[in-house]
Symmetry: C2
Subunit: 241 residues, 2 copies
């Protein structure tokens, strides 16, 4: 193969952006929540004939004069009423035929919200929370997007304390372990889990106990966000493969 | 803020893709290479008046009927002549005013190539390899894209054996440690590094020695890709924050 380096290029030569080379861009939000020891995702039913009765993610077209990240916050705000929640870009999906309306490249974001903090008052298109493990088929390429975001979340919760976005501010170690187990789909050893968490020195014992629980009440903790922010983050953690 | 759930939505309602809601999409490739103990990146000079004499990444517009990932492979092939190299999507940058030609949303990919395996025969727009640490200013938002991809690479080399894409097939442990140090911008302890690498059981001693080196010749190894492919990858590695 002979390299062709003489082609005009958008980064090196002034170009006109032709209509044939313009496409719709959308954002799709994988909104994760947690209740009843189960990891859930907020979905809506599609009315598109091609995907009748299938579930889809919450998304919308990118508007002119709107940054891509801003579009994802807009979708989340319009759908949940929440403004100040954890949201992160994961991956962009650009298969030619992924949308029946025409070429639409979509950027996927995931978000972590505390379900109890927002009640879905309206339920048009049957917007509601689904256990992630119950979702086997979706509209468009949304199952692939969901799987990609779930895998990202599974990695992320081990590397950064994002998991606390899904919990109440005060939580027991049992709550926290249940949540890790729900996300990672594994069983963790109780003693090792607690030992590891205390080693981080990031949990604060608030000297309160759980109330109205069907088991022996556990101590309640909060996560020390201020201390975490001050911690020095290492570039080199170690080779692990 | 009242949630607005009644808006038509690209995932739920048939929509027409209006020209005002269509934008150019590009791919930009951060092509990393390694020589003379230095991590390098392949850059080209921009002719755009707004960025005269600044360096830019190699990129191009997404074509109609072309998958997004395919566009990134095309850019890489056109520029380097290489077809079968490591390439991975990292992040999509969608600030409204990031390109002077108009609205262009760009998806960044990074690639790892062995510099010795491809000679740049033509040098239009002064295409060549730059030490990553020497790059302080670039055209467009390309410095931000480079930084994002470098951070991604630093993480990735600790999690998966992608680093071997940058080395000769036969390498010494000194080569490998130098490369880790160049990417991570840290000094590693020689004994711990070697111990860790042997623990993985993924290096094969090929019973050859380095030739023509200005230091005591070291043993040569290859990476056992077949054994790595068969290794069971764990979902849960451990909480590390």
């Amino acid at each position: 193969m002979t390299p062709n380096r003489k082609k005009p290029n958008i980064n090196t030569t002034p170009v006109e952006l032709m209509p044939d080379f313009q496409f719709a861009i959308s954002v799709d939000c994988v909104i994760f929540g947690y209740e009843e020891n189960t990891l859930k995702v907020l979905l809506i039913k599609s009315d598109l004939p091609a995907f009748a009765n299938k579930w889809s993610l919450l998304g919308d077209l990118l508007h002119p004069d709107e940054d891509l990240d801003a579009a994802s916050y807009r979708v989340l705000r319009d759908r949940t009423g929440l403004d100040n929640v954890f949201l992160e870009q994961v991956h962009t999906f650009g298969q030619v035929n992924r949308h029946p309306a025409g070429r639409v490249v979509t950027t996927a974001y995931y978000s972590l919200v505390n379900i109890r903090h927002h009640q879905l008052s309206q339920l048009d298109n049957e917007l509601h929370w689904h256990p992630v493990n119950d979702i086997h088929e979706m509209a468009f390429d949304h199952k692939k997007i969901l799987d990609t975001c779930l895998k990202h979340l599974q990695k992320k919760v081990q590397e950064e304390p994002v998991i606390f976005n899904l919990l109440e501010q005060k939580f027991s170690l049992r709550d926290l372990q249940n949540l890790y187990e729900a996300i990672l789909d594994v069983k963790l050893d109780r003693r090792n889990f607690r030992k590891k968490l205390f080693t981080t020195d990031l949990l604060t014992d608030i000297h309160e106990m759980e109330q109205d629980v069907p088991h022996r009440p556990g101590k309640l903790y909060t996560f020390n966000h201020a201390r975490y922010a001050k911690m020095k983050k290492k570039t080199f953690v170690g080779i692990d493969f």
